[in-house]
């Protein structure tokens, strides 16, 4: 096995994207993603069984497309990597079953890795020399997770500082979009609706940001109260027979989400003396989030890293990249007996 620049194929099926990525060391060769998002649209959110069925259908074409894109032969691979968790268990199992059989068919080692740490690993594909500067704080925001991590070393030392105690930020966007009568997925819809809106019109609550929350939930997030506050505000308008100022509501809601995400991330950087912040997850597509993060990190003297969007959303390349780093650091492959772990903690970077 080439440990200096391992050629790794990564399989990611933790939510609604079937991702196959191929990397050589920290160089990205292919990043193919099939999404079942459209199939979930009419349900207003990701339906686990629909996602899992879609993974099985997308697996072969996505794998074939990634191989063609990378222009490599499977026999040249040094290893296969797969997301073991966290995520939707039925969806994860499709990837785990596929990865095990692929590894056995090729006689190649298999690395089972952590999805959230994979998001951090995406950054090596976006760096000049394939290194991440440590320590770094990572803010990972998607429809499935909202987590704040302290990364001292990608392959050996990742700590969970905080996470959402109810809805993920992406879910909050979906739910508020529905309140405003906008379709799924909510993120881009809220963004569109917010154009021209005044984010200061309505002061929606910032979850877990009061002094009393700071002791137990310093770096945790909560978006369920915010969603209810938006619903209550909209209902009051409707009950009064007044028109709902959709642009203002959308802008004010988005501002509340972005404010609490960035505030807590910057707070973690400052309090822990970490001058770096990395963003990851699909919600990073939100321009306002990137904008506020850029402003506030610059003001605080924090270096901000945002990988290209196709490496921020769930993808197989980040899984391959993390495995490549594990291989280069001398870590041994996983056994064939691991399973899908929907609640895998971030401290378990690789599952053995």
């Amino acid at each position: 096995m080439n440990r200096a620049e391992p050629l790794v194929l990564g399989i990611e099926t933790s939510c609604d994207e079937t991702g196959i990525g191929i990397v050589r060391g920290h160089h990205l060769l292919a990043n193919t993603i099939a999404s079942s998002m459209d199939e979930h649209a009419r349900y207003g959110g990701v339906v686990p069984e629909v996602a899992a069925r879609a993974h099985l259908e997308a697996l072969e074409p996505t794998l074939t497309a990634a191989l063609a894109e990378a222009g490599i032969a499977l026999a040249d691979l040094d290893a296969v990597a797969v997301t073991s968790g966290p995520g939707l268990s039925g969806a994860l199992m499709v990837g785990v079953g596929a990865a095990k059989a692929l590894a056995v068919s090729l006689g190649k080692p298999l690395y089972a890795v952590n999805h959230l740490v994979g998001h951090v690993g995406a950054d090596v594909l976006d760096s000049e020399d394939g290194t991440i500067e440590y320590p770094t704080i990572a803010l990972l925001v998607s429809g499935g997770h909202t987590s704040l991590l302290l990364v001292r070393d990608l392959v050996s030392d990742v700590e969970l500082l905080g996470e959402t105690i109810d809805d993920a930020a992406g879910e909050a966007f979906d739910k508020v979009a529905r309140i405003l009568g906008l379709p799924y997925p909510g993120g881009p819809q809220i963004d569109r609706a917010a154009v021209g809106g005044d984010p200061k019109t309505i002061r929606f609550p910032r979850g877990l940001s009061l002094p009393k929350d700071m002791e137990r939930h310093r770096y945790d997030f909560s978006f369920s109260g915010l969603k209810t506050a938006v619903a209550r505000w909209v209902e009051a308008k409707q009950d009064a027979g007044e028109p709902v100022p959709v642009a203002d509501v959308a802008a004010s809601f988005r501002e509340a989400v972005v404010d609490v995400l960035v505030s807590k991330a910057v707070k973690a950087c400052t309090e822990l003396g970490v001058p770096r912040l990395l963003l990851g997850g699909g919600v990073i597509a939100n321009a306002r989030l990137r904008e506020v993060a850029a402003e506030r990190t610059a003001a605080a003297g924090i270096e901000l890293r945002i990988p290209p969007l196709q490496l921020c959303t769930d993808n197989g390349a980040m899984i391959a990249a993390l495995a490549a780093q594990l291989i280069s650091a001398g870590h041994e492959p996983s056994s064939l007996g691991f399973g899908a772990d929907s609640t895998l903690p971030v401290t378990e970077i690789q599952v053995h």
Binding site: G44, E49, V50, R53, L63, G97
Partner: protein, 209 residues
């Protein structure tokens, strides 16, 4: 040589020759741990048979019927093994393997009518009825696969067989016979026979009273 994989009930893997001889078979009847056991079953089966991947000519995937979560894992494994080894995947109705096994082992006489039943969870059963073996030695499917409440299962067949595991050896034998006689394989769609559980969002509920 075929590598057959079925996870429609428990998990089962076998290496079967194109002549229908089962060289190795490994199974786990745990209905919950398909993802955990599949890799070891496949690797172990190849070891037991003493063959290299290069000696294989095709994969066989048990397409169900089966409760969704587990069923998919074997199909995903067969397909990705097929890509890895550059081999075709032959889809087979899993109940056909149970039926073939029953007829060949004498649990059912070669001309007996047979009802194959497997657990579909949620107090339901999958069933398929058969009318003996045809000239190629393949079980003749009459009706099904279908889903039913236990009380609504057909009763006219002379033998009823409730199976816990689909033997991958027999699955491979069905595929070998179909290949030899240019018979018809199953479709590419897994036989879940159930729609995904979804609750259509009923609009938004008021939060203020």
């Amino acid at each position: 040589m075929l590598l057959a994989i079925d996870t429609s009930a428990g998990s089962s893997v076998a290496v079967v020759t194109l002549g229908g001889e089962v060289l190795a078979e490994r199974s786990s009847d745990d209905p919950m741990r398909h993802a955990e056991v599949i890799g070891t079953l496949v690797a172990g089966c190849l070891d037991d048979a003493g063959i290299e991947v290069a000696a294989l000519t095709g994969l066989v995937a048990g397409m169900g019927p089966g409760p969704f979560t587990g069923l998919r894992i074997g199909i995903a494994a067969a397909r990705s093994f097929g890509i890895g080894a550059g081999l075709p995947v032959h889809p087979v109705v899993s109940h056909d393997a149970i039926a073939l096994d029953a007829y060949r082992s004498g649990s059912a006489a070669p001309d007996a009518t047979l009802l194959v039943v497997t657990d579909a969870r949620r107090r339901e059963r999958y069933w398929t009825s058969y009318a003996g073996l045809d000239a190629a030695g393949l079980p003749v499917r009459v009706e099904g696969p279908a889903l039913a409440k236990p009380d609504d299962l057909p009763t006219s067949e002379s033998v009823r067989l409730d199976a816990l595991v689909v033997p991958a050896g027999a699955l491979g034998q069905v595929a070998a016979a179909l290949l030899a006689t240019d018979g018809e394989f199953a479709g590419e769609e897994p036989l879940y026979l159930r729609s995904p559980d979804v609750t259509m969002s009923a609009g938004t509920k008021r939060v203020t009273a």
